[in-house]
């Protein structure tokens, strides 16, 4: 488990992270979203020990990181802007990782490279962007680290590669209880992959929740009653949004779905449809409740 307490980081005069608190459960896929410049990458780099923090505590499995090599063996990182040594082939890169990570699985790395049809003796810097991403991912996955961090990893990657990468990550999670932490400014990217989400805004985690509970606690209905009706008729519900067009209203509700369903049926609706909510919609409505304009945040 990663526990971050009152983390603060300043770049010059600008406070990038301020008293940030966050908990990332072991075995979860934690999605970190936020607008460009919100501090997502900085947070990951501080957890990885790449950047020094100004204040606060970062604990991994109950131990404070602070340039701890043993602890860093448990962490792997795939940054947004990839770097490979000049003149290094894929094979060289795998050997580099295997020299530094005690649990690095060389055979697995080579087998993945083979599956992906990546040329092992070709210089990585001559690879396409997608191939480079695959290389970085193979190396990171093969470290068998407990925590793997992906910073905007799927940005600019074509859907086929993206799908494959996600599969590799999922396989790794099945193989070992690896915790994945991913950042993106694209909610749709994380929606079908993460089980936890944190929203970073103005240097702090504005909102943090499990996606499943978000989705089960919040739902959208389309309803039409025989009589004329308004939002007042839904006073007994926790209504996040009410929009009526003609005789049909679209309502976003938060609460126990089964209980709500029974009450709604008692109202003898002409139409009552339960519709799935996208993660983006969930966030939009949640943010509205908190008094933020979601589009300004992400």
């Amino acid at each position: 488990m990663i526990k971050i307490t009152n983390l603060t980081k300043t770049f010059g005069d600008k406070k990038v992270l301020e008293d940030l608190n966050c908990n990332i459960k072991t075995g979860s896929i934690y999605g970190l979203i936020g607008a460009n410049g919100a501090g997502k990458s900085t947070l990951l780099r501080i957890i990885m020990g790449i950047f020094n923090k100004d204040s606060g505590i970062v604990e991994i499995d109950g131990k404070i990181l602070e340039d701890n090599e043993e602890l860093k063996q448990k962490l792997a990182f795939v940054p947004d802007d990839l770097y490979f040594f000049k003149n290094y082939t894929l094979k060289d890169m795998i050997l580099f990782y295997s020299n530094l990570y005690k649990n690095f699985d060389k055979e697995y790395a080579f087998s993945l490279a083979e599956k992906l049809k990546l040329p092992q003796n070709q210089k990585v810097n001559t690879f396409s962007k997608g191939m480079k991403r695959q290389t970085a991912l193979i190396c990171a996955i093969s470290t068998n680290a407990d925590y793997i961090f992906f910073d905007e990893t799927f940005d600019g990657v074509d859907p086929v590669v993206r799908k494959f990468l996600k599969k590799v990550i999922a396989d790794q999670m099945q193989k070992k209880e690896t915790t994945i932490i991913m950042t993106s400014h694209n909610l749709r990217e994380l929606e079908d992959f993460c089980d936890n989400l944190g929203l970073l805004y103005k240097g702090g985690i504005l909102f943090e929740s499990e996606i499943d509970s978000l989705k089960t606690n919040m739902f959208k209905i389309q309803i039409s009653l025989k009589k004329d009706f308004s939002e007042k008729d839904f006073q007994n519900f926790n209504v996040l949004s009410f929009k009526k067009s003609g005789s049909v209203a679209t309502v976003i509700l938060k609460g126990d779905r089964e209980g709500y369903e029974k009450i709604l049926n008692d109202m003898n609706p002409v139409i009552l449809d339960f519709l799935p909510l996208t993660l983006e919609e969930i966030f939009i409505y949640e943010m509205e409740v908190l008094g933020y304009e979601f589009n300004e945040i992400v």
Partner: protein, 683 residues
């Protein structure tokens, strides 16, 4: 702490592997170029410390810095910072691994240089290299390279790009010596005292004023940089100790800062705006130094010119170091910087300049060691005389002629010797005026243990008193190597051993007075240079072996034997084209210079300059034949003799003057006929 935290071999090998070509070049550059330099030496030559280490010196300013930049290259780019920073390595491990590994590479480089130099010194007979000097170079430059390397690592720990790192390195290496030299040169004593007065001089009954100039106190990069133009640098224990201590301190500070380094500033100059400003301000200093040294009468124009230059530099520095220029901050900062540096240079530094002069009181002196005596730019004699006589010490310190005391410029010494040639120390020997004063290197030791090294010139009076007191003492010298000037390959090892033994035996029978007379009075065309490498110094003594009876006999015998053996090598030699030979040629060939106009000496002059000077070349075959047939195996140096000199081998001595002059006259006659034919053809 586990050893891998100090040095992670796997990481280091990978770090080297990624830049293997460059590191290999850094590894072999010094030994390779030093070897090439040695292989190009084509005449007998004794390498000095400065000459043998010239490649090392150049390398010292490049190799450790490039090595450091290569090993730590990940800190310059954000994506490489992410990559290496995310690896399971602590910053402490990275810093210490690169530092220890880099030092290992430096040691390997220096070992390779030492071994290749020693190997070549054995197989190249032309080059004479002292093994102990090679060892000294190894120690001195290993420490120097390590020092520059640690400075470079320190600079990396607080700078964000290569340019700012380089500026930081220069500041760490040169700031303190630069300020000290600035103090010295801007100090009242230097700025307002003429060159002639700037020498050490005697103060009547008080003692001597000595300007302390001990650049060896500095670390090697600044010490050698200061001496680069006159190549006077040599091994310095003080520098080594200082560099070792500083290397440890710099590594500790570097580690401390590196662990706290804000790696997010990769690519930028410095992490704080204030540090950037301070560094920029420090880089003003050379400009200000030049400004202050320009004692120009048109001060306003010069002032404005320098303000303009500095303004351009001020903005340029920001542009190069990737800092954004904010006019609101930059312009006031520039004005304040200018005022601060100007005030420091005009007001503060000159006040410290006076500290470079010590007055040595005669009563505080324990002894004076006369290390060596010089009597012109090439000749120096090891004197090795410890003076403890109070009266003599007082005389040396208070009455040495102040005109003769500056010895760093040989021309100056020569000039003063010429001026002073007629005094009580001058005598006439064989029609020549011989000066009996001496320009000597002294080591003055005070009662409190402090020592000063300086040069002083003794006039005849002091010289006579030294001779009266110590002149009859025997000289004892042990010369490790010798080299006959111009040619070393004449003799076998056993010959050399025999010659050396003779030299040392004959030296030990001489008194100081006899030795000095030999040194000062018997120049000739055939000389020996004796070398010792002692106390980290190459000591050279040039002298003519004509002054040593046994040595002279031995040398001429060996030389003649050798010359006969390698006659085929004689192809370009000459002999003295003296009036005596011209007269001889005329007497043997009276018709040679008969001209229509007896007052016209043109023909004779033409002959002299166009032919006689090259007679050795024209007469080469005949002279070879003469030497081959010369049966005077026992050369008698007490009889009249001639020396035939060529480039290689050097000398042949013979008492057969008649035979040789006849030969020359015959050749001249033949050559003169050819010369006339040629002349007529041209007409």
């Amino acid at each position: 702490m586990s050893l891998t935290k100090l040095f992670n071999l796997k990481y280091f090998l990978q770090n080297v592997k990624k830049s293997k070509a460059l590191i290999l070049l850094l590894l072999i550059a010094v030994p390779m170029f030093t070897s090439i330099m040695l292989l190009t030496v084509d005449s007998a030559y004794v390498m000095t410390f400065a000459e043998l280490s010239i490649i090392n010196i150049i390398g010292m300013y490049i190799i450790p810095i490039v090595l450091s930049m290569t090993l730590f290259d990940y800190v310059y780019k954000k994506n490489s910072v992410d990559f290496i920073g995310s690896m399971p390595l602590s910053r402490r491990t990275i810093f210490l691994t690169n530092t220890i590994g880099g030092i290992g590479i430096i040691i390997i480089t220096q070992l390779l240089t030492m071994l290749s130099t020693l190997f070549l010194s054995q197989i190249l007979s032309e080059v004479v290299i002292f093994g102990s000097m090679v060892w000294d170079i190894f120690i001195f430059f290993t420490v120097s390279y390590i020092f520059v390397f640690t400075v470079s690592n320190l600079a990396i720990s607080f700078s964000g790009n290569k340019f700012s790192q380089l500026v930081s390195i220069l500041i760490i290496l040169f700031l303190v010596p630069f300020i000290m030299i600035s103090c010295e040169l801007l100090g009242d004593d230097y700025r307002y005292i003429s060159v002639e007065e700037r020498v050490e001089y005697s103060l009547g009954d008080e003692g001597t004023r000595i300007i302390i100039e001990d650049p060896q106190y500095f670390t090697a990069p600044s010490y050698i940089f200061g001496e680069i133009t006159n190549a006077r640098y040599e091994y310095s224990t003080e520098s080594i100790v200082k560099m070792l201590v500083l290397s440890v301190i710099y590594t500790a500070i570097g580690l401390f800062l590196f662990e706290r380094k804000k790696l997010e500033m990769a690519g930028e100059s410095y992490e704080s705006e204030m540090l950037h400003l301070v560094v920029k301000l420090i880089t003003f200093m050379p400009f200000m130094f030049i400004y202050c040294m320009l004692n120009n009468s048109d001060k306003v124009t010069v002032f404005l010119f320098f303000v303009a230059i500095l303004a351009v530099y001020y903005f340029l520095f920001d542009l190069i170091t990737n800092k954004k220029i904010k006019m609101k901050v930059t312009i006031p900062a520039f004005i304040i910087s200018w005022i601060v540096v100007f005030a420091i240079y005009e007001g503060v530094l000159p006040k410290f300049g006076n500290n470079n002069i010590d007055i040595i009181n005669v009563n505080d002196v324990k002894n004076i060691y006369i290390e060596s005596v010089k009597y012109n730019s090439n000749y120096r004699c090891d004197f090795g005389l410890l003076v403890e006589d109070e009266e003599l010490m007082k005389l040396i310190l208070t009455h040495a002629d102040k005109r003769f005391v500056e010895s760093s410029s040989y021309e100056y010494v020569d000039l003063t010797i010429d001026e002073a040639i007629v005094d009580e120390g001058t005598e006439k020997v064989d029609g020549r005026l011989l000066y009996r004063g001496m320009s000597a290197n002294l080591i003055i030791e005070l009662e409190n243990g402090k020592t000063y090294e300086c040069s002083k010139h003794f006039n005849g009076e002091i010289y006579q008193k030294i001779l009266a007191k110590y002149g009859k003492e025997k000289v004892s010298k042990d010369f490790a190597k010798y080299i006959p000037l111009g040619d070393r390959n004449r003799f076998t090892e056993s010959d050399e051993k025999e010659i050396l033994e003779t030299i040392n035996n004959e030296f030990n029978t001489l008194t100081f007075e006899e030795l000095y007379k030999i040194y000062n009075g018997t120049f000739s065309e055939y000389d020996l240079a004796l070398y010792r490498y002692k106390n980290h110094r190459l000591i050279k003594n040039d002298f003519s072996y004509k002054g040593f009876e046994e040595l002279h006999k031995l040398m001429t015998k060996k030389s003649n034997m050798h010359t006969k053996q390698v006659l085929y090598n004689i192809d370009n030699f000459y002999m003295y084209n003296s009036d005596d030979i011209m007269e001889l040629i005329e007497s043997k060939n009276p018709e040679l210079f008969v001209d229509d106009n007896p007052d016209d000496y043109d023909e004779k002059d033409k002959f002299r300059y166009e032919f006689l000077y090259d007679i050795g070349y024209f007469a080469s075959d005949e002279i070879k034949e003469f030497i081959k047939n010369d049966n005077h195996t026992e050369f008698d140096h007490d009889k009249e003799y001639i020396v035939i000199k060529s480039n290689y081998p050097s000398y042949y001595f013979t008492n057969d003057l008649d035979g040789f002059y006849n030969l020359i006259a015959k050749v001249c006659n033949k050559q003169y006929n050819n010369y006339n034919i040629k002349l007529n053809e041209n007409i």
